[in-house]
């Protein structure tokens, strides 16, 4: 009898063209926080999906509490007290928080002692209590569609807790959270561990692992590289094992050389669907050779600013100038032509045609002009050559090269594809919204270097990020947004992380 609560032995899982897990063996002890580390596409999500019953392995065995099991379904996993918070949330937008949490385990009452019904009122009460007891307050009657990402994540966690899971799997839970939210979440996770639960945590952020995890397994291209004791391993070593080379965390960056003004935003106001002003009277400028970062807690209007500049939402007031030209009322296509690249926040919803192949997606911003087409006729050879070149240049990994259906690519590689496409436009203004969300550290380093490289070539960069570290690391100028208003615009040297944080929380004003 081993002291492992979870044991996975010789797990292999293949997808067409790729071995996602290749003979992986792991043991996880009861009551520990066990981290999984690896590059994008290393097979972390796949391995955990196997444990939570979403996939069945092609080979290998699983033992839970010493007993051999075949986990055939998530339900089965739940019966074994295994619960997973997925990387891509599995929530019903139209349902309330309560309805989502109780789905599959609803409390039932009877009308007139005869007709069973789902007792939502009771459930609301239960959920409210549950959420309070774990310090994850939510309003049970709210609809998912109206929630912020971090709130949605709370719901996912509550879902698992409601099911009384003993073994909790978190797949990149912090990728979408602000620093404050991350701290809060890590606190929760530690609290869960202390109450006796076993936690498996997938993340790309080594400092998080360092902070909370006990042990950490490193995967590379489907294979298990090593299992480390976190206390005794340095962050650098972990990174090195994971990427297979030395990684630097501070981006090397020459001092900025500001050139002429590229983007000028004047008194920009944006209303959302309900007519509420989510961006109010925002003005700023970006020069060639400047990285302007907007820092802020999620949903404070930063994405709407980026959308308004790119033309995805209408500005209800103010003006936008690009290279001196008023583009406030231009079409999206015209703006792209005038010189805007845009890496959107939601890559699957906005960035990609998931059912198209990779080369088609890589050409999606240029298909209509030379050399990709001539007089309206597409040239497929150009697409293929262009695609192959980008795959090499940006190290985009996929099962079948340019012919891979994008849907089957791992999240990080999807992101790389978008970045590659947008940088290749060579636009004078490049907008990056959350460019490193869900991307492994090796790739983050690359992306940061690419952004800086673009700046050095004289491009104006607008960076929207929820990660304060990233902003402090990369930005030349920082604008802090709170409640749709720019609170502070200053050079990054003149601000400390703490100050920015205070502006972000609305605790400080100009």
């Amino acid at each position: 009898m081993s002291d492992y609560i979870v044991e996975m032995k010789h797990i292999t899982k293949r997808f067409p063209g790729i071995v996602a897990n290749d003979d992986v063996s792991l043991g996880i002890k009861k009551g520990e926080i066990f981290a999984l580390l690896g590059e994008n596409g290393a097979g972390k999500s796949t391995l955990m999906s196997i444990l939570s019953g979403m996939y069945e392995p092609d080979e290998g065995e699983i033992y839970i509490r010493g007993e051999k099991v075949q986990i055939k379904s998530p339900n089965h996993a739940a019966n074994l007290n295994i619960g997973m918070v997925h990387q891509h949330f599995k929530l019903v937008d139209d349902y309330t928080i309560t309805e989502n949490i109780i789905l599959g385990m609803e409390p039932i009452s009877k009308f007139a002692g005869l007709f069973p019904y789902v007792n939502i009122r009771n459930a609301n009460r239960t959920i409210e209590e549950l959420s309070k007891s774990f310090g994850l307050e939510v309003d049970p009657k709210k609809k998912i569609a109206d929630l912020t990402v971090s709130m949605q994540q709370r719901v996912e966690i509550l879902k698992v807790l409601y099911r009384e899971a003993e073994i909790l799997i978190f797949d990149e839970p912090t990728a979408v959270l602000t620093p404050q939210e991350i701290d809060f979440l890590l606190g929760i996770i530690e609290g869960l561990r202390n109450s006796g639960k076993t936690i498996i945590l997938i993340t790309h952020k080594l400092e998080e692992i360092k902070k909370v995890a006990d042990r950490c397994a490193v995967l590379n291209k489907g294979k298990l590289v090593d299992v480390l004791d976190v206390k005794t391993t340095s962050i650098n070593l972990m990174a090195q094992l994971m990427v297979g080379r030395e990684v630097s965390f501070e981006s090397e960056k020459a001092p900025a050389q500001f050139k002429e003004e590229v983007l000028k935003v004047e008194h920009l106001t944006v209303k959302n669907e309900d007519g509420f002003e989510v961006v109010q009277d925002v003005s700023f400028t970006i020069h060639g050779g400047e990285i302007f970062a907007i820092a802020g807690v999620a949903d404070n209007g930063q994405v709407e600013i980026a959308d308004a500049i790119a033309g995805l939402t209408k500005a209800s007031g103010g003006k936008i100038f690009l290279n001196g030209k008023d583009i406030t009322h231009d079409s999206i296509r015209n703006r792209t032509e005038t010189g805007i690249s845009y890496i959107p926040e939601d890559r699957q919803r906005y960035g990609l045609f998931l059912d198209f192949d990779l080369s088609t997606n890589l050409g999606a911003k240029q298909y209509y002009k030379e050399p990709f087409s001539n007089k309206g006729i597409l040239k497929s050879l150009e697409f293929e050559q262009f695609g192959s070149r980008l795959i090499d240049k940006y190290d985009i990994r996929s099962g079948q090269g340019i012919h891979t259906q994008v849907r089957s690519m791992s999240g990080g590689n999807q992101q790389k594809a978008i970045i590659a496409r947008e940088i290749e436009l060579q636009s004078p203004l490049m907008i990056f919204v959350q460019p490193t969300r869900g991307v492994d550290i090796g790739a983050i380093e690359n992306i940061h270097n690419m952004i800086i490289q673009q700046r050095d070539q004289g491009k104006a960069i607008l960076l929207v990020s929820l990660e304060l570290d990233e902003i402090m690391n990369v930005a030349d100028t920082i604008g802090v947004i709170y409640n749709g208003r720019l609170q502070k615009v200053a050079s990054s040297e003149s601000l400390t992380t703490n100050e920015v944080g205070e502006y972000m929380m609305g605790a400080r004003h100009e």
Binding site: R335, F353, L354
Partner: protein
């Protein structure tokens, strides 16, 4: 365990013709069609008839195989030409469905669009006495424009008011049917046939009873056009910016918008193209095949074409073949019924079965690839 392995390799062997992924777009439909013919054969056997003969009759009736005897002025060639004549509108209609599907739209109103364009062409050109050289191209033009406008209306309502195209097209089907019935009854009725008056020969898209070598043939002028247009649509969808944009909108509206594609414009454009194709189906049907319009009757083609388009994998060349097959069964059914004594409904049943099995193509594909993996494993573990 070993028994299980045997089973794997047996079904794997059975599926050998469709193992090669590269050829699957062709092999899978062919395979499904074979299975459905086997299933239909069983049905026919159950009726106590000989399926081989029945199928043979089917093909004889459609002019693919020679009949034992021919009526005066008829031969296999004339039968085959009738087949092409009947097939022409089906190709257009299926292309119409396919183009809309590429844009993520479901054009269930092909029948209505056919009717409207057929009607307008009938009253504008069909009774005009215009010279054939002007009349025939004009009929095609009206078909394209009328169908296109009607399709465009559907697209516009969808884009502007978010009205689901399925509802719009169903409603327009009914409206077209009744309004046109009204006009036919009021102004264009042939009191004897109770259909619209017959159009002039000059306006017809089928040359009827062309006497040649002691045969009387119906030559469909639209057929060549249908083939040409199918190839054009293939080119348009795969090789042009227009096609790229339409498919992008169909694949992901948000992403399309973000890439700078005008979603509204392309929704309308796709429906205009779809409607124009339906319009061509309409004129080749009403002014080619029939030369007259039955009031208050929607052509079945509009619905059959949905299935035919999907059987052809929404691929224009595939559609030519699927239309060909379905038309053979349709056209041959009268002769089969007369020869083998099998009721015509059985022809519909066969068509249904073919479509049914082809609907499972994706499953077959999936099955084959998973069997393939297992087979690879088996080989690995054996060696």
């Amino acid at each position: 365990m070993s028994k299980n392995k045997k089973k794997v390799s047996l079904s794997y062997r059975l599926l050998w013709p469709i193992r090669n992924e590269k050829w699957q777009p062709i092999t899978i439909p062919v395979f499904s069609i074979l299975i459905s013919f086997i299933a239909a054969a069983i049905v026919i056997l159950l009726l106590g008839k000989n399926p081989i003969i029945a199928f043979y009759n089917l093909f004889q009736g459609a002019g693919i195989f020679p009949k034992a005897s021919y009526a005066g002025y008829k031969s296999m060639l004339t039968d085959f030409l009738s087949l092409l004549n009947a097939m022409t509108p089906l190709i257009f209609a299926s292309l119409a469905v396919a183009v809309a599907l590429k844009a993520g739209l479901f054009n269930i109103g092909v029948s209505g669009q056919m009717l409207v364009s057929g009607f307008l062409a009938t009253i504008i050109v069909g009774y005009s006495g215009l010279d054939a050289f002007i009349a025939k191209p004009l009929v095609l033009m009206i078909g394209i424009v009328a169908g296109g406008l009607m399709g465009g209306l559907v697209g516009w309502l969808k884009y502007k008011f978010n009205i689901h195209e399925v509802v719009t097209t169903i409603m327009l089907n009914y409206i077209a049917q009744y309004v046109i019935s009204f006009f036919i009854h009021m102004y264009y009725i042939d009191p004897v046939s109770r259909q619209s008056k017959y159009i002039t020969e000059a306006a017809r898209l089928t040359l009827v009873d062309v006497e040649l070598a002691n045969l009387k043939m119906d030559i469909s002028l639209g057929f060549i056009l249908a083939i040409a247009i199918a190839i054009f649509i293939k080119f348009l969808m795969d090789k042009t910016v227009v096609g790229y944009e339409i498919k992008a909108v169909g694949s992901n509206r948000n992403a399309a918008k973000y890439t700078g594609i005008k979603v509204g414009k392309n929704t309308v454009l796709a429906m205009v193209i779809s409607g124009s194709l339906a319009g061509l189906a309409g004129v080749t049907y009403y002014l080619g095949y029939f030369a007259s319009i039955q009031p208050k009757v929607l052509s079945n083609i509009g619905f059959d074409s949905i299935a035919v388009a999907l059987l052809g994998n929404t691929h224009p060349i595939g559609i030519i073949f699927s239309s060909f097959l379905v038309s053979i069964i349709d056209e041959g059914s009268t002769y089969m019924s007369s020869q083998a004594g099998i009721r015509q409904e059985i022809a519909s049943v066969i068509i249904g079965l073919i479509l049914l099995f082809s609907a499972c193509g994706a499953y077959l594909k999936h099955k084959v690839s998973s069997l393939k993996e297992k087979e690879v494993e088996r080989k690995d573990s054996e060696s």
